[in-house]
């Protein structure tokens, strides 16, 4: 199959993720969109590794996964704490830190 198709898919997924981050208010959904963007990038990394015939891209994709796993732990715990204190998971409500 033409490797470019994977890249198209990756771009599509990234766009969906970015749109989700920018448009959705629910913190969990925003978080999921972030994960979507990360995995879209992973996909493009693996594709480029395949196109170029070396493993660098795949190694980097593993790094991204590890970092994403750590980020999920921290991010989810923060969201849970916010939900506990404010009874809401909306990112727009958590806007105290401003001018």
């Amino acid at each position: 199959m033409n490797p470019a198709n994977y890249l198209y898919l990756s771009a599509l997924l990234f766009t969906i993720g970015a749109a989700g981050v920018l448009l959705r208010r629910n913190a969990i959904v925003v978080f999921m969109s972030v994960e979507l963007m990360l995995n879209a990038v992973n996909l493009s990394l693996v594709t480029f590794a395949r196109i170029n015939g070396n493993l660098d891209g795949q190694v980097t994709a593993f790094f991204v996964m590890v970092v994403a796993a750590a980020e999920v732990v921290v991010g989810l715990s923060i969201i849970v704490m916010i939900f506990r204190t404010r009874r809401s998971a909306s990112v727009d409500d958590a806007s105290l830190l401003k001018y």
Binding site: A18, V21, L22, V30, V91, D92, A94, S95, K98, Y99
Partner: protein, 659 residues
């Protein structure tokens, strides 16, 4: 200073009057080498009395008197030691210590003992000691008497340092010390606002004069590379020094002299200085302070002799001031202010004589020495009257005191006769000679100067007669609670001694030209000039004018009743004289108001201009950051949009650059 230094005395423009160069050799003998004791004794007194606290209250005044008298004793011993030597070797240099030693510039602190400085030292310590003794009685009830005597001693020490110094820089230390001591004493009763203001005024006006002396010393250093008398005077006489430099030097020294000696245009402080205790006035007017300016000019005679322009300025100042002071004296009802005005006038005579040059120096000093006696006597007399009259100073509330205060009246009367120049009392010899040499200047200049001096003598007779009549004669115009009485002996004895001096000093100094010969090594011998007017005629004229002055005063104040309040309907001259001939008004209009406007405009500029720029800049930064701050909304999604937009921009930029 190494070896012999040549202290050359004035070579006048006339040449014929040149004195033999006087060599200041190193001092020998305990008395001369220990001349610093003269200064150290009163200085010790001042320091000890100021530091000792209330423990010393009981004996402080006598200790101060002892220091003054001790200093006088040493001065007499030094005088006798110098007198013992031939007249061409009567200058002694007492090297004390090295003060400034930088590169080629050396200032050694040393004393110069010569006829001029010793004459001053005798006057300062002698009259000063009498005033100390008098003050013991006068200040008996003052709780701060110890501090007062400490200041008196400080005054003596500073003045002695001034006249005994052998370099202009050391002289300057004494000069400033005198300014400080006068400030402390004029403002001695500093709880009185008038006294505090008068002290500040004296100090500030003196600073203006001091500025002249300071710049003069700098100029000496720049021109001659040294500031000791011997070096500067040798430089002034060498042909390498330009006439302009000498004239500028002379004018700057004159400015300094005007400040200390209360000459026009810096005369205004002296009348206000009457706020101090009366013996202080006597000290300032007779023995110290105001004589410093005359000393400076006479001491700097080689500079003035070499610059006729500077001399012209000096005589103009002297002649103007002697009339100025005399006119003010005619309208003052305050006995001390009347005497103060007379001091301004008498110092004017001295400055006039000093400005005439070699012919006049001796008579300037002669008037200064005799003036020391009679003016101190007059002030102490005035103090004695005030002491008996509950510190009343208004002469309109005196009258008829001759009977109640016989000793005060007698001494005051003798000093009065001396100041108006009645022969054979001391004032006559000096003043008559000054008028004579003023006429001898020749030409229009001689007529103007001589005329001014002559008229001044008449006015002096008028206002002094007025003072005596208003105080001692006529009906009693006392306040109801006044119980005048003669002062205690501790006060009358100094007055008696001063009165004796006022009677005989002039004759003694003139006898066989003793003062002239004594001072000749320093200031030169007056040339035997051809007289424009015969001396006998001048004397006759002077005595005639003095008689007219006395008669006028007698008719105006002796024959008519003196109102207890000053009459308001008087001529404009009287009004002007009552207001010190608008001296203060002129200062205010010329210096104080413009200065005030200048400072106000500077403050305005500072507030609005400088501060405006700084504050505006701060407001700009603050305001704009306040607006930029609004971008920080707290909405995570808008931040995310910013990041997204930013990332997009970066990518677009990268793509554009790549392409």
């Amino acid at each position: 200073m190494t070896g012999l230094t040549v202290l050359a005395a004035g070579t006048g423009p006339l040449g014929s009057a040149a004195a033999q160069p006087l060599e200041a050799v190193g001092a020998t003998g305990v008395v001369e080498r220990g001349a610093w004791v003269m200064i150290a004794l009163p200085l010790l007194g001042a320091v000890l009395l100021l530091l000792s606290g209330h423990v010393a209250n009981r004996w402080a005044h006598w200790f101060a008197v002892l220091m003054g008298v001790g200093s006088f004793g040493w001065a007499v011993a030094t005088f006798l030691s110098l007198l013992d030597k031939p007249s061409d070797s009567r200058a002694r240099n007492v090297q004390l210590f090295s003060w400034i030693h930088v590169g080629g510039f050396n200032v050694d602190v040393g004393l110069l003992l010569d006829p001029l400085s010793i004459s001053f030292a005798l006057l300062i310590t002698g009259v000063g000691s009498l005033i100390h003794i008098y003050s013991v009685g006068y200040m008996a009830d003052d709780p701060e008497r110890r501090r007062y005597f400490a200041y008196l001693n400080l005054f003596l020490a500073a003045m002695l340092l001034l006249v005994l110094a052998n370099s202009f820089l050391t002289l300057y230390v004494g000069w400033e010390g005198v300014g400080l001591a006068s400030y402390l004493l004029i403002g001695f009763w500093q709880y009185k606002p008038t006294a505090a203001t008068a002290a500040k005024k004296a100090f500030i006006v003196n600073r203006v004069g001091d500025l002249g002396l300071t710049i003069a010393i700098m100029l000496m250093f720049a021109t001659f590379g040294q500031v000791d008398f011997a070096g500067v005077f040798a430089g002034a006489q060498s042909s390498a020094t330009s006439q302009t430099t000498l004239t500028v030097l002379g004018l700057l020294l004159l400015l300094g002299a005007c400040g200390k000696s209360a000459q026009l245009p810096l005369q205004s402080w002296l009348l206000d200085a009457m706020e101090g205790p009366t013996p202080v006035s006597a000290l300032i007017h007779a023995a110290t302070m105001v004589t410093a300016g005359v000393y400076l000019i006479v001491r700097s005679n080689p500079i003035f002799d070499a610059s006729p322009d500077a001399q012209l300025a000096v005589v103009v100042v002297g002649a103007a001031t002697l009339l100025f002071g005399a006119i003010i004296g005619c309208a003052k009802d305050d006995i001390k202010r009347a005497l103060a005005a007379s001091t301004i006038s008498q110092i004017g005579y001295m400055i006039l004589a000093a400005g005439i040059g070699t012919a006049g120096y001796v008579f300037a000093i002669m008037l200064l020495l005799t003036h020391g006696f009679f003016k101190a006597g007059l002030f102490l007399g005035a103090g004695s009257v005030m002491h008996g009259m509950n510190d009343e100073v208004d002469m309109r509330k005196y009258g008829g005191l001759a009977r109640v205060m016989p000793i005060t009246f007698a001494t005051f009367g003798l000093c009065y006769l001396a100041i108006i120049g009645v022969p054979p009392l001391s004032g006559f010899f000096a003043k008559d000679k000054i008028i004579e040499v003023a006429f001898d200047e020749g030409g229009t200049r001689g007529w103007i100067l001589g005329g001014a001096a002559l008229v001044g003598a008449g006015i002096t007779a008028f206002y002094m007669t007025r003072v005596v009549i208003m105080t001692f004669f006529g009906p009693r115009r006392w306040e109801r609670d006044a119980h005048p009485h003669e002062s205690p002996r501790v006060m009358t004895w100094p007055m008696i001694v001063l009165a004796i001096g006022a009677v005989f000093a002039g004759a003694l100094l003139t006898f066989r030209d003793s003062l002239e010969k004594w001072l000749a090594p320093v200031v030169g011998t007056p040339p035997a000039e051809e007289h424009v007017i015969e001396p006998a005629v001048v004397t006759g004229l002077t005595l005639g004018i003095v008689t007219v002055g006395i008669l006028l005063a007698v008719t105006q104040y002796g024959r008519r009743a003196i109102p207890r309040t000053a009459p308001a309907a008087v001529s404009f001259v009287t009004v002007a004289a009552r207001r010190d001939l608008y001296g203060d008004a002129v200062n205010e209009a010329l210096f104080m108001r413009p200065g005030q406007y200048l400072t106000r405009s500077l403050v305005f500029l500072d507030n609005k201009g400088v501060d405006g720029i700084v504050n505006g800049l701060a407001a700009l930064v603050g305001g704009s950051s306040g607006r930029i701050r609004r971008l920080q909304t707290g909405f995570v999604r808008s931040y995310a949009l910013s990041i997204f937009g930013g990332a997009a921009l970066v990518i677009i930029a990268l793509l554009l650059v790549r392409l």
